[in-house]
Symmetry: C2
């Protein structure tokens, strides 16, 4: 006697899959979620009895934090299909009276009233990569009451030169093939270099040991005043002094956002010197490594602007970095290069 | 006085990138590359002075192994742009007189002669996922001399029930959110289950501890006789007896290929009981976990067939598994489920 069970496997549900992965990663990022939670809860006085708009609400967790902080009404606007899960979560937490989940894009949605507070987790890799900042600006200009609150209200961008050892190992790999299999594949190094070090944004976890100088801030965004026009080119100068002798094969870019409050501002930092977040750091590889010594000055300008290829205000970082070395130090670098 | 260097970063070179990653992964997979190397070198007698066709030559490393084994001529056929690197590698190894790199698809290429040996690394995830086996069959039927050699010449497919702990942890995560952030997100578990456990092929590293029975072989492919028609449905029965009390939440599928030789055949196995390869294992999740006990028999049939959605003979595994539990044991399983 047998019990037979037919199971149909391998449905093609890639979209679903992507959805849960992203949301799991964001919620499991305790630095991100706890800083937002605290940033919202410590603004309890500003939230009490007020109306909030959550731009890109996702699973609705920030909207619920706002309701827990005393908001009278939260409009949780989300364009993707995860909105269905947000509805379920709001219901599960008995927040239907205070949190209204709205499916749609911020640019087309029609709210019944102006709002006192805008909350949003809009940041992408390197802050602006596929970010929703344009939607936040749109929401601010259309729906925020004069004198209203934005959480977070400030974003900063940082840069530092690094020596990425993982990439060095990967490039060196092709020279080791001959000893392993008896086939010389060292000619692949150039190709690998082109592939790895000369392309679109790379998101890596940069360790403190890789960072070769104190960070330099190159841009500030004030969420109350920044315009979409400003986002067409987010740029600034930087100046770093190297800790010691090493080789710069990349620059590392990261961001921090700040939540105002009655006490000291609360900072969500994605620095390699801070605990790891799911944003990690953005790595900008150089075509050729440059040797540096202690106190070598590395100066330059960085410009981040939207990709011309991508529509829908999705940001691609495209950067030009120029860096200047003091002539004398540069000579030293040359000598080092010859000696090594 | 300053030295100024302008560096243009962030070229969009995704295709390049993909290329080197794949080839680095394959060459760095020492189990794969060494087994091919040995499988070729131990057939020195069959190679000596002969003509070889390498189907999907990639960087050309297998072609060079064949030349090192004494082949008079190797035609290294490769359709993708990595072929340019193969040309450079062949030259670097001074093999231009013996290894001829040809850019093109096997189906359209015109060789000046029939070949004595076909060598190919055609296996994809779960053997048939995006595999090039059709091209190998085409090459055999069109270019291989009667009595010629194929390396490898045999492929086998295996299955075993597993308990995937990583997925259990991921599903359980959503029930932990409330204690962490004060928001009940347990309703996400169902959604996560749909996303993770009910979709296209999943490639994971399965540990020996996860495997709940001895493996069962469900299909054999003889490279000398298999036809493209056969590949429209690669299927077979399986029967496993569970080691002990546990819960089956997935099946694991893997393959082995065999290189004939004068001595004992050489096997390249991707079993979870063998050293790790870049193929890892294919995991087929069940909609619902099933508790089992020691000696519970799990029987069924598995059918792998090409996706109707994908063109160009690219294989997608689509499976139906049915499994039968002895009625008595199934009752026990029910009891266990109630007790826990």
């Amino acid at each position: 006697m047998f019990y037979t069970l037919i199971i149909l496997l391998f449905h093609v549900n890639q979209q679903f899959y992507a959805d849960v992965n992203i949301h799991e990663e964001m919620i499991a990022d305790t630095i991100r979620t706890n800083t937002y939670r605290l940033g919202i809860l410590r603004n309890r006085k500003a939230m009490e009895g007020k109306v909030v708009l959550d731009v890109g609400a996702g699973t609705g967790v920030l909207s619920i934090f706002c309701a827990q902080a005393g908001a009278r009404k939260v409009y949780a606007v989300e364009a993707s299909s995860i909105v269905e899960q947000a509805v379920r979560i709001v219901k599960l937490n008995s927040m239907e009276d205070r949190v209204e989940v709205i499916k749609g894009t911020l640019e087309t949605v029609d709210l019944p009233e102006q709002v006192d507070v805008i909350v949003s987790e809009w940041m992408g890799y390197a802050l602006l990569h596929e970010s929703m900042l344009n939607s936040v600006i749109f929401a601010r200009d259309k729906w925020l009451k004069p004198g209203g609150l934005i959480l977070p209200d400030k974003a900063e961008l940082f840069i530092a030169p690094i020596n990425d050892l993982v990439v060095e190992d990967r490039l060196n790999f092709w020279s080791t093939v001959k000893s392993q299999y008896g086939v010389d594949m060292s000619s692949m190094t150039d190709f690998a270099k082109k592939c790895i070090m000369n392309r679109d944004i790379t998101v890596n976890l940069v360790t403190v040991e890789d960072v070769l100088s104190h960070p330099s801030k190159f841009a500030d965004l004030d969420l109350y005043t920044v315009t979409m026009e400003n986002l067409r080119s987010v740029r600034g100068g930087f100046r770093c002094e190297c800790f010691g002798s090493s080789s710069i094969n990349a620059f590392c870019v990261w961001f921090a956002v700040t939540f105002a409050g009655e006490d000291k501002p609360l900072v969500l930092s994605t620095s390699p010197f801070s605990p790891e977040t799911h944003w990690k750091q953005a790595v900008l590889y150089l075509d050729e490594a440059v040797d540096v010594m202690q106190d070598t000055k590395v100066e330059g300008r960085i410009n981040m602007y939207p990709s011309e290829e991508s529509a829908r205000h999705i940001f691609y970082c495209m950067c030009v970095i120029s860096y200047r070395l003091d002539y004398f130090l540069w000579l030293c670098v040359c000598v080092c290069m010859c000696v090594i």
